[in-house]
């Protein structure tokens, strides 16, 4: 599903280059649940954002299915991203001034889904995630776990093929974290590919493969 070949990312430092990723080549198959692990500064989040096509400044080759992402313009990459990828962030990143309902609705609105369809889809997701009672609340009226639940619901609402999660339980209590991980597991079982960045072995254990990074290099 995703194939990266010799991905390199660096920041210029005077005349020199500071590398955050070096010759990273990986392949992620459809239906996998992959955990990217490594110490701080290893380049985990950078790799995730490259996969998520947020980061455009890198060298190497990136294939999403048969599509050569590295040859595409940013606008076309955004289209591929919107069609296929959902994001879950460590600090949830819900839009503070929108209600739960509106937070879920807005990705559909950005994809020009008709209002009646949006209502049906958001209704289904609220139901599926058991948050119907929270739909009119604002994010600051929710607990961290509930916010992340909405974050995951938002990530799946446009029916992506893959979910990228950057330390999704990093800001949560362990019980809340467990709940979120079980949700990911369920989604993965239903066929969604999941790639997460995590420091936690426990969380990594929910997945079926671990990619280790250190100082930007892939470790065996």
């Amino acid at each position: 599903m995703i194939r990266l070949e010799n991905i390199e990312k660096y920041y210029p430092q005077g005349l020199q280059k500071y590398y955050v990723l070096r010759r990273v080549s990986i392949e992620i198959k459809e239906g996998e649940f992959v955990s990217i692990m490594g110490p701080s500064g290893a380049g985990k989040s950078t790799l995730l954002h490259i996969i998520g096509m947020h980061d455009a400044g890198w060298d190497g080759e990136y294939y999403f299915g048969d599509v050569a992402i590295h040859k595409m313009k940013p606008k076309d990459r955004a289209e591929i991203r919107n069609r296929n990828i959902g994001f879950v962030f460590q600090s949830y990143h819900l839009l503070d001034h929108l209600t739960v309902y509106e937070n879920l609705e807005i990705p559909l609105s950005y994809r020009d889904v008709k209002k009646s369809e949006r209502e049906a889809i958001v209704g289904d997701v609220l139901d599926k995630f058991n948050i119907v009672g929270k739909k009119d609340l604002y994010p600051n009226q929710l607990s961290g776990g509930q916010q992340q639940l909405v974050g995951v619901a938002r990530a799946v609402i446009a029916n992506p093929k893959i979910i990228l999660a950057d330390e999704p339980t990093g800001n949560l209590h362990s019980s809340q974290g467990k709940e979120i991980m079980e949700l990911f597991k369920r989604l993965n079982d239903e066929g969604t590919t999941i790639v997460q960045v995590t420091h936690s072995d426990v969380n990594a254990a929910y997945g079926n493969r671990i990619i280790n990074l250190a100082d930007g290099w892939l470790k065996d």
């Binding site: 989040s45 950078t46 954002h49 998520g52 947020h54 980061d55 955004a78 991203r81 919107n82 994001f87 962030f89 600090s91 990143h93 819900l94 839009l95 503070d96 001034h97 929108l98 807005i106 990705p107 609105s109 950005y110 994809r111 209002k115 938002r154 446009a158």
Partner: protein
């Protein structure tokens, strides 16, 4: 549409959640758009709003012009010829401004009505009999003139009165129609009342009484101009036939003008016709007002620019605050255009709300503008209001403002470094925005300085004008006006009454000299005549050279305080018509008798005012002065004997005491002799000077208001940027203080940052002002466009305001607790 509504909903919600931001942005825009709306209402009145009459687009002012292109009025005989010989107009009307003495009305049986009262001076028109028909006005009550009523002289004393006079003077009594009123002591039958708000053919003049030309000798008993083709004192307006263009009409009327020039070369040689929109007497008045309005429009556009800079700055600051939100939106699928649209919706919403508030504010500014009336007794009415054109203008300005000044912040905001924004890390785009914000403040200060310099210069010009020599001595003198001809006085009784008046006034303690004239200098009044110097070749008709004129009585020059430089004043023999002597001014002498000593050369020379008229001999040369406006270039002027002219008399009294102390005694003496004589315009000559200072004072007041507005907006702008910068630098300030910086160090650091921006802005503004203030040269009356006092004074003022605006955020920064600041995110 649906997403637009969603954007609007979100935009509303965001504004409500950030009331501080919304209030500052809306207030800034309201001030800018309000000022623009108010000034545009003036432009609208002059340029766009047609006269409120049916099919106004077919009405044109028909102006006479000579080879110098200056437009002028027509004689009655020329008017009649244009009216009867043309083939392009369905009708041509003529009118003449007139003052009249009005006293109460009596019913048809002749008994006096209680609604009447003492006589009062009113302003009106003498009009051609077809005046209302050509305009297409239907009266509120009664009827308008029939053709017969303007056919034969002095046979149909009829009048149409204005709605406001009907209400004011006659309590709206419907019985006014077919009853008599006394105009200049003569009975006129009121035949109709104009509808409310009707003002005839002028935009800013509101006449109260209309009488047909056929009654001219009852309105101006002393003047007989209707049969003199050289006496050009009527304004004419035509209604073009349907399908005739203005160019066709002008060409056709010029054929008539050419015929008239051939038939009557003395009066009409060189006569040309130019058609312009009606409403402002002559096109030069409209053009003058338009010039001032255009300059004001330019200035308020600068105020709006400053306000918009505030908006852009606020939006940029907000974009930085919202970079994370925007990154989230992009990451969950929003396209950049979609977010730009959302942000633009917010800025346009702000601008529209600001525009609506501005329209409300404009109503108040318009009231202030209307209050800026010249201190003259002529009924000038500035009908400024917010009509649909003004509303459309304001809304277009608002929307353009919202789009234009929201676009750059929106474009900036939607290209965040996604990864950094999602990780809450300050990225390079934040630095870029900060640079942009600083540039905007620099621009804002530069534009404010430009406006303030303009205001400073006009105020200096006003000061200069107050010290300018008008050619007479306004100290210890007073003036008042009356018109014995309007009271029905004939020549001899009138002369006798005036002699008695002057004797009694001379006898009053504190009076040094008193005299009469038919022309008060600096009254925005123009009397002129053609000059044909004996023995010199000259041109005829509208091409003949001319001079302004006045009729003056004995002791005029002593009373007004104008020195005679050569020769003598006018004597009793001149006044009695036994000798035909005049006094001219220095410019007259220089213009017509150039040489080493023009004043002496002029003495004894003779000239005529008509090619075949009787000559006048120059008996004296008086010092130059100002006659029409205080800022004018020197004009040729000739003072003729007032003789027995009873109309338009102004009394000028020179006193040895404060003029206010003898004012009431003089009025009492006049009323002792003639209790019913309306005495108007009683004022000291210094007060009279206010009229000539009015244009300069109005411009200085407006510019000062705009300058202060700009200053306030710029202060808000720099305060906003510095506050934001201080908030952004809280952590840095904490670190500095933890490392040992004192509060004074922090204060200096912030002040330095603000003053650096101010210095760049002020340097730019001064350079721009140095170049652009030259455009104001003709409003500055001799003050240099680069006057150092104005430039330095304004720079100091702006510098002071900038320091105060920076001091508040600076002191806030200096109070930062390092422990809190270091935990600050």
């Amino acid at each position: 549409m649906e997403t637009l509504l969603q954007d609007l909903r979100f935009a509303f919600r965001r504004l409500i959640k950030s009331p501080g931001f919304a209030v500052v942005a809306i207030l800034s825009l309201a001030l800018g758009i309000g000022a623009n709306t108010a000034i545009f209402s003036l432009v609208n009145m002059i340029l766009f709003r047609p006269l409120p009459v049916p099919e106004a687009e077919r009405l044109v002012a028909i102006n006479a012009s000579g080879k110098d292109g200056e437009m002028s009025a027509h004689s009655y005989l020329n008017y009649v010829d244009f009216r009867d010989r043309n083939e392009v107009m369905s009708g041509i009307l003529a009118y003449r401004f007139s003052t009249m003495s009005l006293s109460g009305f009596s019913n048809s049986s002749g008994s006096s009505s209680s609604s009447g009262g003492n006589s009062e001076k009113v302003w009106g028109y003498q009009v051609s009999g077809n005046y209302f028909d050509v305009i297409g006005m239907k009266p509120a009550v009664g009827r308008t003139f029939s053709p017969e009523e303007d056919k034969t002289r002095l046979t149909h004393p009829v009048a149409v009165i204005s709605y406001s006079l009907w209400q004011k003077r006659f309590g709206g009594n419907p019985g006014i129609v077919n009853n008599d009123i006394l105009i200049n002591g003569k009975k006129f039958k009121v035949i109709g009342v104009t509808p409310a708000g009707f003002k005839g053919t002028e935009v800013i003049y509101a006449p109260d009484v209309y009488v047909p030309f056929a009654m001219q000798r009852w309105i101006e008993p002393e003047f007989d101009w209707m049969d003199e083709r050289g006496n050009q004192n009527l304004f004419i307006v035509g209604r073009m036939k349907p399908g005739v263009s203005s160019a066709q009409a002008e060409a056709s009327l010029n054929l008539v003008a050419a015929q008239l020039a051939g038939e009557f070369p003395n009066e009409n040689e060189g006569l040309k016709i130019a058609l312009t929109p009606p409403g402002f007497v002559l096109p030069q008045i409209r053009n003058g007002m338009l010039g001032v309005s255009a300059a004001l429009m330019g200035l308020v556009a600068l105020v709006l620019l400053i306000a918009c800079t505030n908006l852009a700055n606020l939006l940029l600051a907000r974009a930085t605050e919202r970079s994370k939100e925007i990154a989230i939106r992009l990451s969950i699928g929003a396209s950049r255009m979609r977010i730009v649209r959302q942000l633009l919706t917010e800025s346009v919403l702000l601008a529209v709300v600001g525009g609506l508030a501005g329209i409300l504010l404009a109503g108040w500014i318009i009231d202030l503008l209307i209050g800026l009336k010249p201190p003259a007794d002529i009924p000038i009415t500035l009908e400024l209001h917010v009509d649909w054109r003004v509303l459309v203008f304001s809304m277009i300005v608002s929307i353009i403002t919202g789009v234009l000044f929201g676009l750059v912040p929106a474009m900036q905001a939607t290209k965040p470094d996604l990864v950094s924004a999602l990780k809450d890390v300050v990225s390079q785009s934040g630095v870029r925005r900060s640079w942009l914000r600083s540039s905007l403040v620099v621009a804002q200060i530069a534009v404010s300085l430009l406006l303030l310099v303009a205001a400073g210069l006009t105020m200096r010009a006003l000061q200069q004008l107050k010290t300018m020599n008008p050619g007479f001595n306004p100290e210890n003198s007073l003036t008042m006006s009356f018109d014995l001809s309007l009271q029905g006085y004939q020549t001899e009784p009138g002369n006798q009454l005036r002699r008695q008046m002057l004797d009694r006034i001379h006898a009053l303690p504190g009076v040094q000299a008193a005299s009469l004239t038919d022309f008060m200098p600096l009254s925005m009044n123009y009397n002129g005549t053609s000059i044909y110097i004996e023995g010199q070749p000259t041109e005829r008709g509208v091409n003949a050279p001319n001079a302004m004129t006045a009729g003056v009585g004995l002791k005029y020059f002593e009373s007004i305080g104008t020195p005679i430089l050569a020769g003598r004043e006018l004597t009793q023999l001149d006044q009695d018509g036994k000798t035909r002597s005049v006094v001219v001014n220095e410019t007259f002498a220089k213009k017509f008798f150039p040489g080493a000593n023009p004043n002496e050369n002029a003495l004894g020379k003779r000239f005529r005012t008509q090619p075949e008229g009787r000559p006048w001999e120059i008996a004296g040369v008086a010092k130059d002065g100002k006659y029409w406006s205080i800022g004018e270039d020197q004009r040729a002027f000739a003072w003729f004997p007032l003789g027995s002219q009873l109309a338009f008399n102004s009394l000028i009294v020179r006193t040895t005491v404060k003029p206010e102390t003898v004012m009431s005694s003089i009025v009492s003496e006049i009323h002792n002799l003639e209790p019913n004589l309306p005495v108007t315009g009683v004022k000291t000559m210094s007060e009279h000077m206010n009229l000539s200072l009015f244009p300069a004072r109005a411009v200085a007041s407006l510019l000062a208001a705009f300058g202060l507005l700009a200053l306030a907006l710029a202060a808000i702008g720099i305060y906003g940027v510095m506050s934001y910068s201080v908030a952004q630098r809280t952590r840095e300030v904490g670190i500095r203080m933890a490392l040992g910086a004192q509060r004074s160090d922090v204060l200096r650091m912030v002040l330095r940052q603000g003053m650096k921006l101010a210095a760049i802005g002020m340097a730019t503004g001064l350079a721009a002002a140095f170049v652009l203030t030259r455009l104001l040269a003709n409003l500055l009356y001799g003050v240099s466009a680069t006057d150092a006092v104005a430039f330095v004074g304004v720079s100091l003022l702006l510098g002071l305001v900038v320091i105060v605006a920076c001091l508040i955020p600076a002191s806030r920064a200096a109070k930062v607790d390092p422990m809190i600041a270091l935990r600050y995110e």
